[in-house]
Subunit: 115 residues, 2 copies
DNA sequence: TGCGTATATAAGCATATGATTATATGATAG
DNA sequence: CTATCATATAATCATATGCTTATATACGCA
């Protein structure tokens, strides 16, 4: 068993473990079509702000998402430059679209929009 | 958010969590090319027999693998009839082959072969 | 400058996970 | 029929995970 193969498997299982949480998985799927800020996620997942922050941190620590400040908000987006992005994308493609979550947010007038 | 979408995401994250363990992920990749019995896994992963059994149980409980008795041994194989097999397969395709593990086992004369 | 809002971090806690050891089951070979 | 080998399950334990509450940071704006 070569060292790099071990490393690759370790890396892959680490990525899969990150995606093996419904909140984070849904976040990633959502981010494929819409950048979102923290407070939007709080609304969407009906979860406390620190809980959301902590999920985002895990995704960010491993480089799957990146953050961009826009005015008062910090928007998160998918880091398509990640070495394993094709792998991630392959997984996300199999999942049902989560755009309904954003639509719902807009209907409530809670979508953050800053240009 | 429709109920089925939620269910699908829940199911997907559950599968990914299962694969988000290096031992189980490697088992699945291995099983794609070789059926293996419990004692082989014990050798390959240098792990206790109960530990291996428990990993296999998780994979079996969710239907990803199935077991077949052959003589004294119980061989595990991938359940290609699983509803989510295409999803799983898509993931495994991105991973480096683990055949070296079986080759190594054969070199040690530990490969179980029963016809 | 200082206040309010958005986000991050820290600490604590309950539950989940993965390993170990000990023991049970179950099929096979004598 | 019994002893043995392969595997499964149970009990236990240490660590990991994900949430909560409390607090810190950092930017935007009056």
């Amino acid at each position: 068993m070569s060292k790099t193969v071990t490393t690759d498997m370790q890396r892959a299982s680490q990525l899969l473990k990150l995606l093996g949480d419904q909140t984070r998985l849904t976040m990633m799927k959502l981010l494929q079509s819409h950048d979102c800020c923290v407070c939007e996620f709080v609304e969407i997942f009906k979860m406390s702000q620190p809980a959301i922050s902590q999920h985002l941190r895990k995704l960010r620590d491993i480089g799957l998402v990146k953050e961009t400040r826009k005015g008062k908000w910090i928007f998160y987006s998918i880091n398509e430059d990640h070495d394993d992005y094709p792998f991630i994308q392959g997984i996300l493609e199999h999942l049902p679209g989560q755009d309904g979550l954003v639509t719902e947010l807009e209907a409530q007038g809670l979508r953050i929009c800053c240009e």
